[in-house]
Assembly symmetry: C2
């Protein structure tokens, strides 16, 4: 499949979400851009703001931070007027700010629920970074708040806009090599620094499973097009006991799907790993790197894959913004329901590891 075929098929694979590459988008010039406020100015927010410079349907216009010095320096760099700067206390006043259409929550996991609900009450559409929250119940509260306030909710699932992953999804769901039997997908980075919120159980809700493993759960689900019905799981060894006293350093788990497919995964802070492999009855397809920010490499039984390496963040933000501009609903596979399902799986994986039993999942 070449670039041309890809562009023709991608609207099918991504359920009619437009992929806006900078080159394509430059050909049109949308009249209106939506304004985005970033809540939380950590490392990923920094990357997001930078990548959004290439967006055609939205722009970075507001910020919310608890650190005045950050408000200052970011505002200079991105030309954010004083009236579009908030802290965690006065954030609710964003309701009266017509510059901001979308609030993007990129806070520690434990704060996702509160700020999603406050944004919804301020009548702003919400994008919340993955994992959606700490547990499925929080996800339900968040979805309810958005529905009740007439705003839309999306989860920051950037890979649903990434050509190599969309191709993996297509090969799996369209059964190009027959039914998928085995998915192997793992993600890890050698990481962990004293004081980091990701090592704090109360703020993060868990270790790498919350942060990285959720991508593997996603991949298993979008390749099979199914939701796992049962999981088994095993905590890995704790090599750095002082750092990983509250959350796991490594975890392995296995998901069983209704079709009989299985997906095995590892996520870890003890080593780097970034891969996605699927074996179907008549062939296989794989990415490595698969989940990071690329550049991706992919191949299948039919040969090497050749897709454009895109700006994932800009593609995600443009696709969501275009839907909102067109008054279209956010599709389920990047919406709250998807985030809730992933949280159901994460909850089951932790329970399976803790109890050393197979845990069934009902949705």
């Amino acid at each position: 499949m070449n670039r041309r075929t890809f562009l023709r098929n991608v609207s099918v694979a991504s359920s009619a979400l437009p992929i806006v590459s900078p080159a394509l988008a430059a050909m049109s010039s949308p009249a209106k851009k939506l304004g985005v406020a970033l809540v939380g100015l950590g490392r990923y927010a920094e990357y997001m703001a930078y990548q959004m410079k290439e967006c055609q349907y939205c722009e970075f216009r507001g910020l919310v931070t608890g650190t005045p010095s950050k408000a200052e320096s970011w505002s200079k760099e991105y030309n954010i007027p004083e009236k579009n700067r908030y802290n965690y206390q006065n954030f609710d006043q964003i309701k009266d700010n017509p510059d901001v259409d979308i609030v993007y929550v990129i806070l520690p996991n434990a704060m996702h629920k509160e700020f999603t609900i406050r944004a919804a009450k301020a009548k702003k559409h919400v994008i919340v970074e993955k994992p959606m929250a700490l547990n499925p119940a929080e996800c339900v509260e968040m979805m309810n708040a958005c529905r009740e306030n007439g705003v839309q909710l999306a989860v920051g699932y950037r890979l649903h806009f990434e050509p190599y992953n969309l191709e993996m999804k297509r090969l799996g769901q369209e059964k190009v090599f027959g039914p998928v039997r085995i998915v192997e997908t793992s993600l890890g980075y050698f990481s962990g620094q004293a004081g980091e919120w990701r090592l704090n159980k109360k703020l993060a809700g868990g270790g790498p499973l919350m942060n990285l493993g959720v991508y593997c759960i996603q991949a298993g689900r979008y390749i099979t097009g199914e939701d796992p019905m049962a999981v088994t799981a095993q905590f890995g060894p704790v090599l750095r006991k002082a750092l990983f006293s509250e959350v796991e350093e490594s975890i392995t788990w296995q998901m069983q799907f209704p079709s009989g497919a299985i997906c095995t995964s590892t996520t870890t802070c003890a080593a780097g790993i970034d891969r996605l492999y699927a074996s179907a009855e008549k062939g296989h397809f794989e990415l490595s790197p698969a989940i990071s920010y690329g550049p991706f490499k992919g191949r299948s039984t039919n040969g090497e894959m050749d897709f454009p390496q895109i700006n994932q963040q800009a593609a995600q933000m443009d696709a969501i913004s275009k839907l909102l501009l067109d008054n279209q609903p956010i599709p389920d596979h990047i919406g709250g329901l998807e985030g809730w399902k992933d949280m159901k799986v994460i909850e089951a994986v932790y329970k399976a590891a803790r109890t050393q039993t197979k845990v069934s999942i009902t949705y």
Copy 2:
């Protein structure tokens, strides 16, 4: 590492076993070749006989089969004289046959023990195909029989003579990228035909774990240089219930090593999969294909691997024959002890899957 460096290092990596590539071997001409009798003339024996044509230190000289028509056709093709043909009843007379130095047992797993012991009593050195037997106790009996009869015992671990796998072993055991944290290795083929002995519990002892999974156990062990201390495991779904009524169709398992490394694996008859990946603290290294008969492809954090694609069977047979010719002991990593350890792991994996508990292994 290029071919030259490889050839310099390979003797270290393989514990001083000589790798004899046809090109190299052609330069010398050993005075004596050992005679090999193949016991069981199934598909792998067929391949082995063919590949052995390139051996420099041994040759195919005798056969043992229960099927007279096979004895006839094979003898024609390989010029095996009548006096070197046996059936399962008169096999013990091989004791008096000076043409045969090595008996290679390539029978269904359930017959490995009996024919290894009978060969040992006939004072022939024995090579037994993997998995060594049905359980660890049988392995001990086999080792005892060989010791008592003053003959040597090797297991047909062909990958210990294969350059790409030896490089994986070197990168892992020499900690080239720091300590290994994660190994992922899986092997599967879409396979299973009614009547096949591999689907018969009594003859095979188990399903793909016995036949294919043993390679993954080996890989986890030779990359870490350690023996797993505990395993967890999960039977996969049974997609073809009629075929897989006695043995598993798929199984996933996880091995924990004393250093804290983990190895996750899948083996299956439901789809093709053939890969070996290791992640260490400072880099990764992988093969895909990894375990089959090649051609192998490998890469690491340092780039693509480039080694000769060799005749694995000839390399294995020549290396073992050279040791026997030189009156050197078969090293542990291809000997009975290695086969016994793998059977200990296999036994623990089945127990873990059956009982859904973590199973410790003591050696």
